[in-house]
């Protein structure tokens, strides 16, 4: 018999696992409650388990997910990894960086290059920000996405030089147009191997027969502008490494990253383009994370640790205060239902639904990524949200649903459950969700219409399962389930 944990502890742990991951199964929740909140945060920050991806089976049954040429296959492969990962924060941080450093497979033709970028986020997304920004600047997908292969000595292309400042590190208002040009000059000569040929291939925009060509970073010193540059007040023959180091020293950099982290993990902020004109929701939270950044020599996990252990994150007011992104909705629901131990065609359907809700993984609409918040909600997307979650939970044979039924059977402990008890149990297991009385009343009425829940014999057990599944399907259509 497991230890009984207080409702507050359960609610807080479930909150952490929803935000720092994609929600937990009942077993995961129990395991984390045993080890306690802070230890769970540490385990999330330093995952020991490698992702055990059955690449051999993927190769056998889903060749396209192994080739990673077309976008849907790439996204399906990622959805599978998000659902199955033993290191949810590592995967969630990959999604976070994918949102901040938004790179789309559409322009890059092949999904493989974006998948490689995501691998880089997995390996380095919770380490030093300076290291990450440097790796990003050398990432072939980023290089081609923002045209750095066209950035030459004597003829700069400002695209990457601008976005690294505006969207990837400091935010508008903290540098000048001259800094952008100098930044671009510092990145001249940073390119992919054989750039002319690769550019033509990319412009021709065909996966066939060039899909297997792997882009690689190379630095061409002869194409690098070695003249003196002045960047954010620093003068010298600055190269890309110097620029990245200077950026990481700026106060604006952790402020901007901290606000992104807050927006992604704590509460919806206004859309990023409004940040220069609107103060953060919680300036002290940003200060705290900035302090952690400088104290730790730019360590992202130090910022995360400070955030997850802070009252502003743990407070009840923070729970269910963000609109679930489509990926959070889809992956969270698939994790709860279970049954995706091996990659199946369900992952393709999941990608289709994510796209229909407005978030095609690996295909952000632009370098500005997805704004999120209330922009996820419109009538078309709402139909998709409600139908998806409800449909996934319609199969009582799935292991996650069996576990939920088992938990309710334990609760019944040989007697019958009233409709009230059943509704409270379902809300607790799915969330725990706090719903208005009117919603609870509606659910109770619905549960009652399905009949009694007891597990006395085979017939009543079958009836109880039907009632539980029907109720779960309605619980996930609530407004509260749209929030995380």
């Amino acid at each position: 018999m497991p230890t009984v944990h207080s409702k507050q502890d359960v609610a807080l742990m479930a909150h952490l696992l929803r935000r720092a991951g994609f929600g937990a199964t009942l077993q995961e929740l129990d395991r984390c409650l045993e080890q306690g909140y802070e230890a769970t945060v540490e385990a999330l920050l330093s995952p020991s388990a490698p992702d055990a991806v059955p690449e051999d089976l993927i190769r056998r049954y889903h060749v396209d997910q192994s080739d990673l040429r077309n976008h849907a296959a790439g996204a399906a492969y990622w959805i599978y990894r998000m659902v199955q990962t033993p290191a949810p924060l590592r995967e969630k941080m990959s999604l976070f960086w994918h949102r901040v450093f938004a790179t789309a497979a559409t322009k890059l033709i092949q999904a493989r290059m974006v998948a490689n970028q995501l691998d880089m986020f997995r390996d380095h997304g919770m380490g030093s920000f300076q290291d990450l920004l440097l790796r990003l600047s050398r990432d072939p997908a980023m290089m081609m996405w923002l045209d750095n292969q066209d950035n030459h000595k004597g003829s700069i292309n400002e695209n990457y030089g601008r976005e690294i400042l505006e969207l990837f590190s400091m935010g508008v208002g903290n540098y000048t147009e001259d800094d952008i040009k100098e930044c671009a000059r510092a990145f001249t000569g940073w390119r992919v191997v054989n750039p002319d040929y690769m550019s033509i291939r990319m412009r021709n925009n065909t996966a066939r027969p060039y899909g297997y060509i792997a882009w690689q970073f190379e630095y061409d010193d002869t194409d690098h502008d070695h003249d003196e540059k002045t960047f954010l007040g620093q003068v010298g023959d600055l190269n890309g490494e110097d620029v990245v180091a200077i950026i990481c020293r700026q106060e604006a950099t952790p402020r901007f990253i901290a606000r992104h982290l807050y927006h992604f993990f704590v509460a919806d902020e206004v859309p990023v383009p409004q940040w220069p004109h609107t103060a953060p929701r919680d300036p002290q939270a940003i200060d705290l994370m900035c302090q952690a950044y400088f104290d730790s020599n730019y360590d992202i996990s130090a910022m995360l640790r400070a955030m997850f252990n802070a009252d502003f994150f743990k407070s009840e007011a923070a729970r269910f205060a963000r609109v679930k992104s489509p990926v959070e909705m889809v992956v969270g629901t698939l994790r709860m239902a279970g049954g995706l131990e091996l990659p199946s065609t369900d992952t393709y359907a999941a990608v289709g639904v994510c796209a229909a809700m407005g978030q095609f993984p690996m295909n952000p609409p632009s370098v500005e990524g997805w704004q999120g918040g209330s922009e996820w909600i419109n009538t078309g997307a709402y139909v998709q949200r409600v139908n998806f979650a409800s449909r996934v939970l319609s199969d009582p044979g799935k292991p996650g649903i069996q576990a939920i039924i088992g938990r309710i059977r334990d609760l019944a402990n040989g007697r019958g459950l009233s409709a009230e008890e059943l509704v409270d149990a379902c809300l607790h297991i799915v969330g725990p969700l706090e719903v208005p009385d009117s919603t609870r009343d509606g659910l109770i009425e619905y549960a009652r219409s399905w009949g009694d829940v007891d597990f006395a014999d085979a017939a009543s057990t079958a009836q109880a399962e039907r009632t539980i599944v029907a109720l779960l399907q309605l619980v996930v259509t609530t407004q509260e389930y749209q929030m995380v």
Partner: protein, 378 residues
């Protein structure tokens, strides 16, 4: 009789992937066309004879028939400055009417906001695909996205009718009673209820429909038929959004484009005929566009991404004919090997928005663009 301007509708036909302008309205006798298209060329004996020295793609006979009735405006050389050859970005530019920066509001989404400021008309715009094109997205603008009218609705995976209706009743009840619990909950509740209301209205549409027109069996024909059903049911829908593709014909272009135009031209003809036989064609305008045309020089078996393209406006109220000019194929007139645009697409949008939909265009297209005058509104 033409309905008043508050009752006019537009059906958008998006040719996704980049429709090859040169093999759609074909300058078949132009030596520059012949030189540049050694492999991917339509010759005089293949094209449908058209006017002004052009031919039409052999699959476009239904469009030619409508043209002969004076119902088709061929709008040449449509594009925008500094053409972008990424599908995504170029489509985005068309969708948001923002060529220079990344826009966050769709041009039709903004029109929807004008036409139903409170969002009361939840079926004012119907998109016939699962994913919402950005053209229709603007915060607060209701849009229904329908893949299949017959099964459209909330909780449509619940097969048993009594159980589904019971679940929907519970949903409606919970959502109505949750109003008044703060702005976020209210927004969610209202959106959920709007979705439900829209689904109620649209799922009843097929029962009201009877027609002798037999549509094809391809996906575009299905969308065209659905659009006809929604428009004929007269439920207040003013925008129908359809798309077909992929027109991204890097390889095997001639066969591929022919098949796609078979679908599109046939679907448009059937939609028009259906509306006409129900005496409902007078206030419907069909707008056909693609995100860009394709490279002038072929690549051996297909063509790569280009810029300037062709758009069509089709309907009873269209003054048929050619508008704007076919861009020159001369080498010194090409932009990086592509046809130069000579008409900004926002001119076409301005005409559709203001003259047809009675919505002020300037704030949506961010400027004043000369209209073509291809609508007959008397």
């Amino acid at each position: 009789m033409m309905g008043d301007e508050k009752n006019r509708k537009v059906v958008v036909v998006q040719l996704s992937g980049g429709n090859d302008y040169l093999n759609c309205v074909v300058p078949y006798n132009n030596p520059r066309y012949i030189d540049n298209r050694p492999n991917v060329r339509l010759s005089e004996d293949q094209i449908i004879p058209f006017d002004n020295g052009y031919g039409l793609n052999p699959s476009m006979q239904p469009v030619k028939d409508l043209y002969d009735e004076g119902k088709v405006a061929v709008i040449h050389g449509v594009g925008y400055p500094q053409p972008n050859r990424s599908h995504f970005r170029s489509m985005d530019i068309w969708h948001t009417a923002e060529p220079t920066k990344v826009g966050d509001k769709g041009w039709l989404g903004q029109a929807i906001r004008e036409m139903t400021p409170d969002g009361d008309n939840v079926v004012i715009a119907v998109n016939f695909a699962a994913a919402l094109p950005r053209a229709l997205v603007t915060l607060g603008a209701p849009v229904a996205s329908v893949t299949d009218l017959n099964s459209y609705g909330l909780l449509n995976h619940i097969d048993a009718a009594p159980q589904r209706s019971q679940a929907l009743d519970a949903f409606r009840d919970m959502y109505s009673r949750a109003l008044g619990n703060g702005p976020v909950m209210d927004y969610l509740s209202k959106t959920g209820l709007d979705a439900l209301r829209g689904a109620d209205i649209l799922s009843a549409v097929p029962q009201k429909y009877a027609s002798t027109v037999e549509y094809g069996s391809n996906p575009f024909a299905k969308s065209a038929k659905s659009a006809a059903q929604v428009l004929l049911a007269d439920v207040g829908t003013r925008i129908c959004y359809t798309q077909h593709g992929s027109f991204d014909t890097h390889t095997n272009e001639v066969a591929l484009q022919a098949r796609l135009w078979d679908d599109v031209a046939g679907g448009i003809r059937d939609l028009y005929t259906d509306l006409k036989t129900h005496d409902a064609s007078d206030d419907v305008l069909i707008f056909v566009f693609s995100e860009f045309g394709r490279r002038v020089k072929d690549n051996g078996n297909g063509t790569d991404h280009g810029s300037g393209g062709v758009a069509f406006l089709i309907g009873d109220r269209v003054k048929g004919g050619h508008y704007s000019e076919y861009p020159s194929l001369d080498d010194d007139k090409l932009v990086e090997g592509d046809l130069a645009f000579n008409l900004d697409f926002r001119s076409v949008y301005s005409e559709i928005l203001e003259d047809w939909m009675a919505v002020e265009a300037k704030p949506i297209v961010n400027g004043t663009y000369e209209k073509l005058g291809c609508l007959n509104l008397n």
